[in-house]
Symmetry: D2
Subunit: 320 residues, 4 copies
């Protein structure tokens, strides 16, 4: 069957290479080009299998692609989204440039399970950040079903594998610095991801404060978010709000034991569980969600959105 | 100088071997015996250096020791504490058997920095659990200085290295199951450690609920606890309560960046930092504390308590 | 299309679960049963995705399977191979029971690339060990092309991830014992794998001694074998013997840089490179081969053999 | 007691920081200065405990130090060795610049156990590389006792933790690239270390070829070298040559089981074992040696040499 040509801008990072690998194995897409300025002309191995040879971003034949994914750095991506649009391509932007909470409006936010309808008809989609994907999908049913206590403070402690920090030559990401270590970072900062989450919760009409503390794990891939959520009332069945909301979702798994990162590894899923806290006075739910930061947290969700934008079946080419 | 003979019951686990190693290098203690039923007669290497040969617990010459450490399993320890007392030895019990929150009273709780005076004169001390050590030392100054909002829910997300689960032949602790994985466990259970912490907070007159979610890290040693604490009022200087309380403590380090587990590795210290959360409506402090679960969380604190009970300098033989 | 029913005996170990996962995703096979005595009645997650519920081995409906894989322990497998045969099923035995070097004859040795023709028509195949797979495929072309010096000693140093030791509750396989550690084991023993390799080399008419030192890596999966091979004459092109022999092989990759374990992770391939040692007097080739011990080293090669035995395309259902 | 002032040039790398930590805890040395151009003015934590603030190398008060350690990069070190000498300081050079095999003569090679007497009286000592330390100490007794077959090829497969590659911002040393990976590197190159080893063996009058294949381990610290050595005759007691030679050495441990990297972690020792290979025609010994690459392989041995050069007890300040 005819394959739809797509391109990847900024393809040499962890998410970019994952994207190239997904496209290479996708039954209906073909990789028209992949760009990486510093590694232009270089052939690299893709995760899983296969190879790709990078071209300079300036040399990308944008017009040859029906859809372009941009994995360019935050700040640098926006201009190329416009260039790709001008060349007639649809765009999924994996950078933060066009995401909600960034002063941008009118660009659909590609948290697929929350915004499927606007994504389907869009020419440009802002792919969510990895932390927001894990956290928002864990909170969404509670806000939609008006279960969160008004004015509540939701405490989110999240931990990410190192690939979440990107493929960059930084000494703090060396094996010798990360192995046998664990630490929080960006504590109390209004981290970019926090704005994104607050903006999305605002769209849901939420009246709650979010405390978000990210941590760095001594492992390559995965994000686990553990959230304590004050409720309006005790829940008999902690999983019910999630089961109701997500029963038809192909990429959401509701489980009754705490999710483990190894069970979402290299899969485009979010796995969620929830537990009623019966020993505290305020009715509280502990929600835990787990994703692979490079799949559902980046490249996988980007392909999921692209499938919808291109009129393909949403699950095509994605390891669930 | 004369060395004081001490013994270790149940010495083959991670904490027990660490204890033997500390005793072996201690300038004023000598190891009179170390017991391990399954490994009796076997010589094993100690962490760092040195060797020890185990005897059966029944064969321990209790009377030959001025002080006995018990690292026997929870439930089995209590009887041996009594036997050691009957033989005239002082005892530091590393099991949970005699800890507060266990229906026991009259036994000093060996959270040294909180109970130094009672420990000093005691014949038996219940050494705290690893999680409670990290968490209580991070919360103590806030409760003592009446900074915690009344009726507040404190959300504690903690993560431990695998040695915290002990040296036991369990398939869930195999390298192949733990590496490249991260997960919560015991969520919502009234975990033994939770009772211990609530009892201690009760002694401090605290009116607060504790939400405690432990996680298992893909690393050998260390506990990091990240706690969000609603306050009575905003704090200009997040570190001030800790600096005031702990300025003279040899084993407590107050730092202004988030503590890292590698910086407490194999050291008998707790490292604490705190951050005011300025973007939420409720005045809130994020407190992070880090320990080595086998040192300040077990063997190190046990020696710290033993030093006090034996009239030695508190810091003797302990890597700070 | 009709799927062929297959069963797995002893499916709860690492190789067994990998096998169940491969069968579950295989386009032409279906999993008729999976047995595990200790875990009978239990549902477990498979690597990648999917679940399986184990039955007791005694309850396995052997007759319902066209082909049975046995992952039972060495020693226990042989009897069940016979029972499965008696029930009319073909068998791939992953244990060592029927392998060459074990005093057994007449059972094809399933090193597919070396024995494809005998495997194709066989009713029972002995699937090779993980180390022998990596090592023999690296040496085969050199012996077949008579490049190995007569009477030579080939020095093989190999390192394996921990899953190679199986899913068993042993304290020496705990995360706390394996992480940040590396060690040789079984040095100088006539390790079971050594007999298997010598027997196979004998069948090739080799006149060489094999020195084999296995090591345990602090990682979950993978075997890397580094072999120094004295040659009859210097080779201009170190890769030539491999390119010639393996050019049509779908699961063998000849590369010019040293193979990395991450590039074969979860793939049914062996990756091989070779280097002429020009600074020593004896013409010598350093050959390095890399496999995933659970895929090409166990479950993957078992499915590769089963495909041939069942008249299916050899590559079906295998991640290359 | 009076402390001897010493300085460290190029102190920001892994070996340099380890050196500063050792000096800080040394009972007879004090750290006069530590230099690091890129991090000048910055205070960093030392491994274990303590802090150091770096100055620019140009600003080092060379004359204030009785002895200077240079951890400057290969090529850049030589000049500073001369400057330090001109300022009246003794020097231990940890770079390769002055090592044997580099066209340099007259500078004692600081493989302490082989060259103790020349080190003791020296003003400048070239500290050995990490691989050569592990390998040469494992081979030394065999050559000295003329047990190695003439013209033999010794096959050395060695594996190193990542800190051996230094503290540099290279993408190939990122956690995401090293974790769950294992690979050889520099295969067949006449690696700098190979020249160093051949030169030293030459001084011992050895007539043997060395095949050396280094590998990169997914762990932070440690070097394990596994060597197969053709002998002139079979050995009844494989450990005898080592016991004889090293019985009085404080930093050499002869063991009968294969050495493990965790047992030498953070210790200034080499642990050696040896095994007679009885199943091959050529009498062959497999020798395995293990060191911590930052201790006996770098900073520890440097202090060991400095102790001798300063007339102090050789073991002072070194964790054995």
């Amino acid at each position: 069957m005819h394959r739809i040509p797509v391109g990847v801008l900024g393809a040499s990072g962890y998410a970019g290479r994952e994207l190239c690998a997904l496209i290479t194995r996708h039954p209906r897409l073909s990789l028209a080009f992949a760009t990486a300025n510093e590694q232009r002309g270089k052939q690299v191995e893709l995760p899983g299998s296969g190879h790709v040879t990078f071209v300079a971003t300036e040399d990308a034949p944008l017009g040859a692609a029906t859809l372009v994914f941009s994995s360019l750095p935050h700040g640098a991506s926006k201009e190329w989204v416009e260039r790709a649009r001008a060349a007639g391509a649809k765009v999924v932007d994996l950078s933060a440039d066009l995401r909600i909470g960034n002063g941008i409006s009118g660009i659909p936010y590609g948290l697929t399970e929350a915004r499927r309808d606007t994504v389907r008809g869009a020419d440009v989609v802002a792919n969510p950040g990895c932390y927001p994907t894990a956290i928002l999908l864990g909170l969404l049913p509670l806000f939609e079903q008006e279960l969160v206590a008004r004015g509540a403070t939701i405490s989110v402690h999240a931990a990410s594998g190192v690939t979440g920090a990107g493929f960059s030559a930084r000494t703090d990401l060396l094996f010798g610095e990360v192995a046998e270590n664990f630490r929080a970072y960006g504590v109390g900062n209004t981290h970019r991801h926090l704005n994104e989450m607050r903006a999305m919760l605002g769209e849901l009409g939420a009246d709650a404060d979010l405390l978000f503390t990210p941590h760095l794990l001594p492992m390559a891939r995965g994000i686990l978010a553990t959230m304590t959520v004050p409720l309006t009332r005790p829940l008999d069945d902690a999983l019910a709000p999630f089961g109701t909301r997500y029963s038809q979702e192909p990429f959401i798994e509701i489980v009754d034991a705490p999710p483990e990162l190894r069970h979402v590894n290299r899969r485009n899923v979010v796995r969620i569980s929830a537990f009623s806290m019966t020993h505290v006075r305020t009715p509280t739910l502990t929600v835990i969600s787990a994703i692979d930061n490079l799949m559902k947290g980046a490249a996988g969700q980007a392909v999921q959105n692209a499938n919808l934008m291109l009129g393909l079946e949403e699950t095509l080419g994605l390891p669930a």
